[in-house]
């Protein structure tokens, strides 16, 4: 069920990326799609009745059934890179807005590169 939900989130993100004209809304769509993909990767490592992959005084032996820690580690990397992409993209959008006065894709294409 959670896998279909994550796919739905990714599909919403793809729809937003294809249909929106506002650059900020494109970044929001990209983030939604990314959350869907991250959720899907984590769900691949889930085991029925699996424990959190951390040894503690309650779950104190490596022979217990833990969920797969590898997808979680990969998603940790992916989240950090997502933060980097979002910050850089927003900075680029701010710069575009300063020089062109708009962040709408259609208007930017109409104006072309003529206006410096």
């Amino acid at each position: 069920m959670i896998q279909y939900f994550s796919l739905l989130l990714t599909a919403i993100g793809i729809y937003g990326l294809l249909s929106q004209k506002n650059l900020v809304k494109l970044i929001v769509s990209l983030n939604i799609a990314e959350i869907g993909v991250n959720l899907f990767i984590v769900s691949i490592g889930y085991i029925e009745k699996g424990l959190v992959p951390i040894l503690s005084s309650e779950n104190n032996s490596s022979t217990l059934l833990f969920v797969d820690p590898l997808p979680q580690a990969l998603v940790l990397t992916s989240i950090v890179i997502g933060v980097g992409i979002t910050a850089l993209a927003l900075a680029i959008i701010v710069t575009i807005n300063h020089s062109k006065g708009t962040i709408d894709i259609d208007e930017l294409i109409e104006r072309g590169g003529a206006e410096e």
Partner: protein, 252 residues
């Protein structure tokens, strides 16, 4: 019209991947059924039992000495020990991103002033809360090998403390020392990696004793590297916040 086509493409994506999910995973090797697979068939089994190079034996919390990596948190042991090179790349990506934001928005600019003055109550409360947030961040990244969390969440909490100070005080800027901290922490990470190359024979390999699983001073390089990453990420994200609040300001 364009929106309808976009909707059709998104629906096609959803149904295609749903069909892949519904295939019989016994005959088609693909995505396993949700919640039903055997961990011992996967590579991750050797990460959980700490037997990538060592022999397979039971690891007990609080009593096993000198286990491979020695980290109680398996995710941390993958991120900082088995696949530390990935993390070095990840830190580099974040560094590049922060540099790009600084290049586009930074420079010697004055801060944008907030249109609403923060009340004295909020200012005083922020001054009390932000040191506590810094302590929480330091706790999260020094205990990365024992509890959930680690360098990246710890760094984000530290940046949140800075963001709180920026929001209540119109004069607050990031200290210039942050850039030095950021760079030197990244350098220290690479130097530790070269130390592993010289002592253990492989880049970023652990060369310290790993101690008892579950102790604070255990897991060799992991707490050290995660502290470096926590400080570096905290400085980087604070720098990004500082760049964003100063965008569009007048030149000094």
């Amino acid at each position: 019209m364009k929106r309808i086509i976009a909707g059709i493409i998104a629906l096609l994506f959803f149904f295609t991947v749903s069909i892949v999910l519904n295939t019989d995973s016994q005959t088609v090797s693909g995505v396993p059924r949700y919640g039903e697979f055997d961990l011992s068939e996967r590579n991750s089994h050797s990460y959980v039992t700490k037997s990538v190079n060592d022999t397979l034996k039971e690891v007990k919390f609080g009593s096993t000495i000198d286990a491979e990596t020695g980290s109680a948190n398996f995710v941390t042991s993958i991120v900082i020990n088995y696949r530390s090179f990935d993390t070095l790349g990840e830190v580099t990506v974040l560094f590049l991103s922060a540099t790009g934001v600084g290049l586009l928005l930074g420079g010697d600019k004055k801060r944008l002033l907030s249109p609403i003055k923060a009340s004295p109550v909020v200012k005083t409360a922020a001054k009390i809360v932000s040191p506590l947030l810094l302590i929480l961040g330091a706790y999260v990244f020094t205990h990365g090998h024992l509890t959930p969390g680690g360098g990246f969440p710890g760094g984000a909490i530290i940046a949140a403390a800075f963001l709180l100070l920026v929001m209540v005080d119109d004069e607050k800027r990031a200290p210039a020392l942050l850039k030095v901290l950021e760079g030197s922490m990244g350098l220290a990470y690479i130097l530790l990696g070269i130390g592993g190359l010289l002592i253990s024979g492989s880049f970023l390999q652990n060369f310290l004793p790993t101690g008892v699983v579950g102790n604070l001073f255990s897991a060799g390089l992991i707490p050290i590297v995660y502290s470096l990453i926590g400080l570096k990420v905290g400085a980087e994200l604070s720098g990004i916040v500082d760049d964003f609040v100063s965008e569009g300001g007048d030149n000094i």
